[in-house]
């Protein structure tokens, strides 16, 4: 790809970006949110049309034209996106073959047999005739990959395929990627996980603000350098963050603000106990699907509670709906920003005041001036990058959207803030800002529960960790025990017993 330009209404998403992919390599495409990774990929796959520039394939002098996803597919470019882009109402086999074969009629028997063969060879536990909606998210992701793999592709694009997979599944995926590399397939790998980049990739291309920063061999670009290139500023070491931020240990003698006894919700978690002190930062950890989100959702009343008690300052409170929790000073930043967090078409301002407005009541709306004041205050405080407070939130980058949601909850002045994966899918710079903010809030007396898939992030912020496994609380780690290996042991505990 040479000299690619892409303009969106008023915004230059890509400016003169060159990109090259060799046969049989895994090439990492890195950059912060809004750097232009997704745009570049979408140009390559025909979802967007480029405004300028040319795309060449396999030494041909003539540039190829890619106007639609079909064109890209015909050229042997297949893509697996972060969000699953399959049709849940069709069968697994149909999802693997639709839009690919020629001819009007379909040989259904052959198709199902082929699909089963491929699924088996890739070790994917799904049946061809099964409806996709009945499969778990991870399996759906694997089916998407199976589809791409089977297409005899020359270029395979993986856009953050690992964010919904657990470690074992990630390893399986990596095995598959290496296998394909050996067969001469060029793979573009987009991810936020640095470890994964260094584990499988051969070369790295870094983008920033829609511009090309550079293309590097993996051995020649140490981790610290990569982060620096992505952020566009020299950062000494990732470890420095840890030194800067001191985990704030709450006084052991302070009684808990919130206590939970044998709480159980209809989301399928086993009853659990939990408490948090004033000014404490603790966290839930565990593998994906272990029930960490479900626990905090239960505390917030987001799922229907079917048993147990919640106490505030020792007195029992009743929480059946989110509004009850909010009235008791609990705030919850949900895991899925797009589905549960932002109200896409509304302005940044309305998104910020929403929760506070609901708390204030239907008949007492904020005046325009008040709303503007709050919005400006928090845009400044959290350094939200937005054209104005009137901009619809959906046009902001992921990290800034997350900051708006954070602003929304801070505006309600909660006593207890629950952050469920606040740093997922956002760039490193914002991640660090959010971590710092959490510690600052805690030092001012707010209780915070922090959930993250990245253990080192948890170690940096939390003074106590609750470990979940199979929708059950299996342990609590604090103080000296709070190390990477101890956490891993506890998470994996069940498997050892079985083995």
């Amino acid at each position: 790809m040479k000299n690619i330009h892409k303009n969106f209404t008023g915004v230059k998403a890509l400016q003169a970006v060159d990109f090259s992919l060799r046969e049989g390599e895994i090439h990492a495409l890195m950059g912060e949110n809004g750097a232009g990774k997704s745009t570049l990929i979408k140009v390559l796959t025909g979802v967007y049309e480029k405004d300028e520039g040319e795309i060449f394939l396999k030494g041909n002098d003539k540039a190829v034209a890619i106007h639609s996803p079909q064109d890209a597919q015909n050229l042997g470019i297949s893509t697996v996106y972060q969000e699953i882009t399959l049709c849940p109402n069709l069968s697994v086999a149909e999802n693997m073959f639709i839009g690919r074969t020629k001819g009007r009629m379909q040989n259904w028997k052959k198709m199902n047999a082929d699909a089963d063969r491929i699924l088996q060879s890739l070790d994917i536990p799904a049946k061809a005739t099964q409806q996709l909606a009945n499969c778990s998210i991870a399996i759906q992701q694997m089916v998407a990959i199976a589809r791409a793999v089977d297409m005899d592709c020359k270029v395979l694009i993986l856009d953050e395929p690992t964010s919904s997979l657990d470690d074992k599944e990630v390893q399986k995926l990596f095995g598959l990627m290496k296998d394909l590399r050996a067969r001469g397939v060029g793979i573009i790998f987009v991810t936020h996980f640095l470890d994964q980049v260094y584990e499988v990739c051969d070369r790295i291309t870094v983008l920033r603000d829609g511009k090309l920063v550079g293309e590097y061999e993996i051995e020649k670009l140490p981790r610290v350098q990569l982060v620096a290139k992505m952020l566009g500023k020299e950062l000494d070491d990732e470890a420095q963050i840890k030194d800067e931020t001191q985990v704030y240990h709450a006084d052991e003698n302070v009684p808990p603000v919130f206590e939970v006894e044998q709480l159980q919700s209809n989301a399928g978690i086993k009853p659990f106990d939990f408490y948090i002190r004033k000014g404490e930062v603790n966290g839930f950890t565990g593998l994906l699907g272990s029930g960490r989100s479900e626990c905090v959702r239960a505390i917030f009343g987001a799922d229907r509670i079917i048993g147990g008690k919640i106490k505030k300052n020792g007195k029992e409170i009743k929480i059946t709906k989110p509004i009850d929790a909010m009235k008791n000073g609990i705030a919850y930043l949900p895991e899925d920003r797009k589905v549960d967090g932002i109200v896409g078409d509304l302005s940044v301002r309305d998104n910020i005041i929403l929760a506070a407005q609901v708390l204030r009541g239907f008949f007492r709306p904020f005046s325009k001036a008040q709303a503007n004041k709050f919005a400006d205050e928090y845009i400044k405080l959290l350094e939200i990058k937005t054209a104005s407070a009137d901009t619809p939130i959906k046009s902001l980058s992921g990290g800034n959207q997350q900051k708006v949601i954070l602003a929304r909850w801070l505006l309600t002045h909660p006593e207890y803030l629950i952050l469920d994966e606040p740093t997922r899918g956002i760039d490193i710079g914002t991640k660090i800002e959010i971590q710092k903010l959490v510690l600052k809030l805690a030092s001012e007396g707010m209780s915070v529960t922090f959930i993250s898939s990245e253990t080192d992030e948890m170690l940096r912020t939390c003074s106590r960790l609750i470990v979940m496994r199979d929708r059950r609380k299996v342990g609590e780690i604090s103080g000296e025990d709070l190390t990477q290996s101890k956490i891993m042991d506890t998470i994996a505990g069940g498997e050892k017993k079985n083995g």
């Binding site: 509004i323 109200v343 078409d345 509304l346 309305d350 709306p365 104005s388």
Partner: protein
């Protein structure tokens, strides 16, 4: 660099946010200019004496203000329903038949042609409000409680409504002879402006106050855009949707009062026929997305008057009432095609190319 970019963006956004109300305004201007060229007498307003002996204003513009009122009132409720539920209520015409039937039933009692009103008009109106809101609540429960798509849920009342209306009055056609009942759809003695217009304005003011002194606007939009997120922010999406249908029910009752007052009787199968389509068109013409979310009430109301403007224009050119819908359809298609984002984008890029070409030629 960064500064100029934000500046650019801001200008761009300004145009964007001001855009929505432009759609009905442009349509209105187009129609107005067309009439001005075709026949300027369209704009003549005279002071006549009507059959009741009152001095009243008459003219096409007055007709538009008069007959556009029901539509404007319905457009208010329809906009809210559309925004909150992402669907439309197609039972408003049937609802008007029911509410109108209730008003007549209360006013006439058991006698279908009473010499005197059997109950004060205000009582009849309030009863019809309650009934219309109940039917609105029925739709609301189906949509919010049972999660049925609005168009489908209201299809029930659309099918049954006119039958229910006929059943309320035993299929008789009560006629009100009391002249005071005719005031609501006609003129109040001494005031030369048609009453429906005042009623519509009153509704707009009430709605404006509600918007100002409650968070209805914010809540409705939040629920319409992202239900799941609204719930986690402490809102009750089901209730907001339900509420929007009840409010529409109220609008239906007001529109029904005007409709039955115009003719002092009712025709179950004809009253407010196809008005739901016009009301939905008004919402769409106001530039509101029919799939819910952000809304602009003034734009919808203006849209309603634009539709009435169009209808009146067509009548003036002696188009048969049955054929009017064909012309309306053509105008609607032209409007939506012009305002379609795809078309506008194409047009914009085309004009940009032309500019570039011109610049090159100059250079």
């Amino acid at each position: 660099m960064a500064k100029t970019r934000t500046l650019q963006k801001k200008n761009f956004m300004d145009i964007f946010s001001g855009k929505q109300i432009l759609i009905p305004i442009v349509a209105l201007v187009l129609l107005a200019v067309f009439n001005l060229i075709a026949d300027p007498s369209f704009y003549k307003i005279t002071l006549d004496v009507n059959s009741a002996g009152n001095h009243v204003l008459s003219g096409y513009l007055i007709t538009i203000l008069d007959y556009g009122s029901e539509l404007a009132i319905l457009a208010i409720g329809m906009t809210l329903v559309t925004a909150a539920s992402g669907g439309q209520d197609i039972s408003v015409g049937a609802g008007i038949a029911i509410a109108g039937s209730v008003i007549l039933r209360v006013l006439c009692g058991t006698n279908s042609r009473p010499d005197h009103l059997q109950a004060p008009i205000i009582v009849a109106f309030l009863v019809s409000c309650v009934v219309a809101m109940l039917f609105g609540a029925f739709n609301g429960i189906l949509v919010a409680g049972f999660k049925i798509q609005p168009m489908v849920a209201t299809l029930i009342l659309y099918t049954a409504g006119r039958s229910i209306a006929a059943w309320i009055n035993n299929n008789e056609l009560p006629v009100i002879s009391d002249p005071s009942f005719g005031y609501f759809g006609g003129f109040i003695p001494g005031i030369p402006i048609p009453t429906p217009f005042f009623i519509a304005v009153a509704c707009m003011i009430v709605m404006g106050l509600v918007m100002k002194f409650t968070s209805l606007g914010l809540y409705t939009q939040a629920v319409g855009i992202n239900e799941s997120s609204s719930r986690l922010n402490g809102l009750n999406p089901a209730f907001i949707k339900f509420l929007s249908f009840v409010i529409l029910g109220l609008c239906v009752a007001v529109a029904a009062l005007i409709k039955v007052s115009r003719i002092s009787t009712i025709n179950y199968s004809v009253i407010a026929k196809d008005i739901e389509m016009d009301a939905i068109l008004a919402v769409a013409l106001g530039g509101n997305s029919l799939s819910g979310g952000k809304f602009n009430l003034p734009a919808s109301i203006l849209g309603a008057y634009v539709i009435q403007f169009l209808t009146t224009t067509l009548y003036k050119f002696n188009v048969k009432s049955e054929a009017i819908s064909a012309y309306k359809a053509i105008v609607v298609i032209i409007l939506v095609v012009i305002s379609a984002p795809v078309v506008r984008e194409k047009f914009a890029s085309f004009s940009q190319k032309m500019k570039v070409r011109n610049a090159k030629e100059v250079g």
